[in-house]
């Protein structure tokens, strides 16, 4: 496994874009953020107060010529829930960092991410989930694709601090390597400083599954369409839980996902 790419932030520091989202006690909100054609650093601070719920979709879709860095800092308050979907598709050199601090009991942080690295892109996705109090939950699921000469990097760390008993924390990273010139680095990590917790992490790197391919072909679907369908399905897992139909449809269209309604 190679070491992850280190980003030189000074070279990127051409633009600093700062956003703050605070969801008040008892509120429920849906937010869509698009990081578009911005070279430099985008900085987001997200905080959910007691008994609030936030669903947020972040799309980092800048031009393939630009370098970009997005930093999302999350604080999840007591009894609040955060459901974050992150999609990383653009940028020559793009880094997304999420620091999620679970600071309130019974808080729930769920994150799903998709990274689609192609051509000569280098895309990096780093998520640090810190459980600081008892009785909280987190679930991170990330799907990464690397094709052509691209490099995809996933760094996921769950830390359960002392005293954060009865924490449930999970992370899963699935990777598709579609070219022998592409590279995937995956670093799932757990740091547990407390007993009485449920934790699991896993990572896999594979190519398109031959048995899935065969199954589709056995139903008359040609190789090209079968490949498109499998890729589309892989990506769709990151979007399928989005409740805002308009946003979900927009993402499906941008990523060429053809989902049949019924």
């Amino acid at each position: 496994m190679k070491e992850p790419v280190l980003f030189k932030t000074r070279e990127l520091l051409k633009l600093l874009d700062h956003h703050e989202i605070v969801v008040g006690a008892g509120e429920k909100r849906f937010v869509f953020l698009e990081i578009k054609n911005a070279e430099g650093i985008s900085d987001f601070k997200i905080e959910t107060m007691e008994d609030s719920a936030l669903e947020i979709v972040v799309l980092q879709q800048v031009s393939l010529e630009l370098d970009t860095l997005s930093d999302i800092q999350i604080k999840a308050g007591k009894n609040s829930s955060i459901k974050l979907t992150f999609v990383q598709g653009g940028g020559k050199l793009a880094h997304l960092k999420i620091d999620a601090d679970v600071i309130g009991e019974n808080a729930q942080v769920q994150i799903r991410g998709l990274q689609n690295a192609r051509r000569a892109q280098k895309l990096s996705f780093e998520v640090n989930t810190n459980h600081l109090v008892p009785h909280s939950q987190s679930d991170l699921q990330v799907w990464c694709i690397a094709s052509d000469e691209a490099r995809s990097i996933f760094n996921g760390t769950i830390t359960i601090e002392k005293g954060a008993h009865h924490t449930e924390a999970y992370q899963k990273n699935k990777n598709l390597l579609l070219s022998n010139r592409a590279t995937i680095d995956t670093f799932p990590k757990l740091f547990i400083f407390n007993d009485d917790v449920k934790c699991a992490h896993g990572s896999s790197v594979s190519q398109l599954e031959p048995e899935q391919f065969y199954y589709l072909q056995s139903r008359g679907i040609g190789a090209d369409d079968a490949e498109k369908m499998l890729l589309s399905g892989f990506m769709h897992q990151a979007f399928s839980w989005i409740t805002n139909a308009e946003t979900k449809q927009m993402l499906e269209e941008r990523f060429g996902i053809r989902e049949e309604g019924f």
Partner: protein, 247 residues
């Protein structure tokens, strides 16, 4: 002799360099249902995968004919478009691909024409009702988290939608409880017609109580060892395989 609907001639197959099928011969005429029974590990699933063109299985000798046309070296999708169908013993899950998307793509490919959404829905609804499948099934990911019964119902649904002239059912009865077995088997039996053929691969007689075979073959050591009428299945159920030479 008229052309058989489906014919397997002296079929030899290797998997990872190991000989598994060693000269299989079978002839299915229009309207006939044949059952293939045998112990575990005798090559039954190799036979079904080979018939549907799985790339892992290499045909080293012999041929497979559908309506007199040699399909031995066709791709799986080409066989499906010629209306050969395999109902899988273990259908794979494809997360992120909905049942509806998959069925529509499959129908379009096999029929070689687009089907408009209204007709598609109407067609599917009829079949769902007949198989006792709820409509929300269509928006779920293909086979993901499905019970054994749900998977087999979906295989049956596909068979009825794609209207193959020759269907190979690979242990469709496995993983089914008594009620599901009855429902799935009755739907398969209803599919039977004078123009179609079926090859039912199974361990047990129980499925054959619903899908009555015209012929029963005992499979062992990569070959058909014994052939007979429906009574052969009953004899196997009562006496096991020990009496069959080579089984």
């Amino acid at each position: 002799m008229s052309t058989a609907l489906f014919e397997i001639k002296d079929l030899h197959v290797e998997v990872d360099g190991k000989k598994v099928l060693k000269g299989v011969n079978l002839r299915v005429n229009r309207g006939e249902v044949h059952a293939v029974m045998g112990r575990n590990g005798t090559g039954k699933t190799t036979l079904s995968y080979t018939l549907m063109g799985h790339p892992k299985y290499t045909v080293t000798q012999g041929s497979i004919l559908l309506d007199g046309e040699d399909i031995t070296h066709l791709k799986p999708e080409e066989r499906a478009r010629k209306r050969l169908f395999l109902a899988f013993q273990y259908p794979v899950a494809i997360p992120g691909v909905s049942v509806a998307s998959f069925l529509r793509a499959s129908l379009k490919a096999v029929r070689a024409s687009e089907i408009d959404p209204k007709n598609f829905r109407s067609l599917i609804k009829t079949e769902l009702k007949s198989l006792g499948i709820p409509e929300n099934f269509m928006t779920r990911s293909l086979n993901e988290g499905f019970s054994g019964g749900e998977k087999k119902r979906l295989e049956t649904l596909q068979l009825r939608l794609l209207e193959p002239k020759m269907a190979v059912l690979d242990e469709t009865d496995s993983g089914l409880d008594i009620d599901a077995l009855k429902s799935v088997s009755e739907n398969l039996e209803n599919y039977r017609s004078k123009e179609r053929g079926m090859l039912v691969i199974t361990h047990y007689q129980r499925m054959l109580n619903y899908i009555k075979p015209d012929y029963v073959h005992v499979f062992g050591s990569g070959q058909v060892l014994e052939s007979g009428g429906p009574d052969l299945a009953l004899k196997l159920e009562a006496q096991g395989y020990d009496w069959v030479k080579g089984a």
